[in-house]
Amino acid sequence: MTLRVWRQAGPKALGQFKDYAAKDLNSNMSFLEMLDVVNDELTLKGEVPIAFAHDCREGICGTCSLTINGKPHGPGKGIATCQTYMRSFHDGDIIVVEPFRAAAFPLIKDLVVDRTSFDKIMQAGGFITARAGSAPEANAAPVPKGVSDLAMDAAQCIGCGACVAACKNASAMLFVSAKVGHLGLLPQGQAERDRRVLAMVHTMDEEGFGNCTNQYECSAACPKTISHDFIARMNRDYLGATLRSAFQPEAASSDGGGA
């Protein structure tokens, strides 16, 4: 089959598609293994191999990316690129491979983009400020089964950025809403719930992601099938948090009583 791959030497360089014949493939190879084979051949020929991002190769780290025939992570549903197998394609196919494209994900090289903007959103509020230590008694904070299951659905997000890549507006709403929803559903996340959603959305906007137009391309591309219901949930949280924070009284000793 023919691979039509986006080649771009660096952020400033001009990019273009280049065709490569992919030979000696096995239908049980993953898409990344297929790229390895192509790269081996390129290396032997003395050409620069195709740069692509990967790590765990088992669908849990969120490092692999690639837009395959216009869909992030390829044709499968609920599957990352590393778990896409060559049996999903046919002999003689032309497969178009592009990087995740979004202004907030600047290109580094070929198919590798910089997803630091996601880290910045996480640093703005994707955590709970709790004393680190040994794990607390598990039954001290009861969580109803339905709620914990819903939180687990959101917690599945591996932060890959496919939602941004698939969105016509390069919006990060699905990613941010998964993080906000996951912590917002659990008791440990309550204390910082309002602050979290306001801060994460603020950072999301600052990093130059687009605005959701409720077209749900994100959840259709998500390798963890995170539901766009979490986006509605975040919109509601954001509205409530905005109103509450505007009318919340401030304590007189807001500097903590220190000297």
């Binding site: 216009g70 202004a103 919006s171 409720n214 509601r236």
Partner: protein, 258 residues
């Protein structure tokens, strides 16, 4: 961030503005259609209704200014969000592919802009009387109408029989006897219905009320609203073009004098 800043300066805040102004506009267009369908009744109805609205005086202006503000905010948010979205997308994909976004959702900007163009013509036609002046309610030959019966709203008589009022009934019908005008109107309300199909679904998501448990019902309700809205709007120019709705004849006008 303060309250105004959060709503006008943030992505979600602007979406909420879109949704709330959308609710106001939907309320208006639906109410407007219900009012207009009185054209199928005796001319007393639509003419009395128009007279009643004009008698509201300052209240009418409150409603008008509210609607204009809602429309301006809606268009402002749509424009700002669209420009940001274009910038955020960065480069285009070489291989263009849509997974599940609906046609209505992808056409929002176009349907919105054409609806705006229609709105301008519509106001110029029926409210301001700067186009098709020969049939305008205040200047046309059939400009006057004398109410035959009282026009009541919620049991109260608001326009008395015998009152001399503007003839909206014949203005609308004569206006739609122009085929091009009627067809433009039909196309525009069709596009507006398409806009509402995505808009009605979308506003529940933007306000955080939608989820998978009942979204199937929401979608059916949106579809029903849009189909009924379109058919209701189609009925008026359609009936005029089909010759089923005619302006008052001199005879009717004469009986009106009695």
């Amino acid at each position: 961030m303060n309250l105004v800043g959060s709503f006008f300066g943030s992505s979600i805040g602007r979406k909420i503005i879109m949704a709330l102004t959308g609710v106001i506009l939907i309320g208006f267009v639906v109410g407007h259609l219900v009012g207009n369908l009185q054209i199928f009744q005796h001319p007393d109805h639509i003419n009395g209704y128009a007279q009643f609205l004009h008698q509201l005086g300052p209240l009418l202006w409150v409603a008008r200014i509210g609607l204009i503000a809602a429309a301006l905010l809606h268009i402002w948010a749509a424009t700002v969000l669209t420009l940001e979205n274009k910038r955020a997308r960065g480069g285009d994909y070489g291989f263009k592919h849509t997974i599940q976004a609906t046609f209505a959702s992808r056409a929002m900007r176009w349907t919105g802009v054409i609806v705006l163009a229609f709105l301008v013509y519509h106001l110029a036609h029926f409210t301001l009387g700067v186009v098709q002046t020969e049939t305008f309610k205040e200047t046309a030959p059939l400009n006057h109408y004398v109410m035959q019966n009282d026009y009541r709203v919620a049991g109260f008589t608001v326009v008395k029989a015998g009152t001399d009022v503007a003839n909206v009934h014949s203005m609308v019908i004569l206006g739609f006897q122009h085929k091009v005008v009627a067809l433009f109107y039909i196309v525009a309300v069709g596009l507006l219905s398409l806009h509402l199909l995505h808009g009605f679904n979308s506003l529940f998501q933007s306000l955080g009320l939608r989820n998978a448990k009942w979204s199937w019902l929401l979608h059916k309700a949106a579809l029903a609203l849009c189909v009924v809205y379109f058919l209701g709007n189609l009925a008026i120019p359609g009936a005029v073009l089909a010759g089923k709705l005619r302006p008052q004849t001199a005879k009717v006008a004469a009986t009106a004098q009695r």
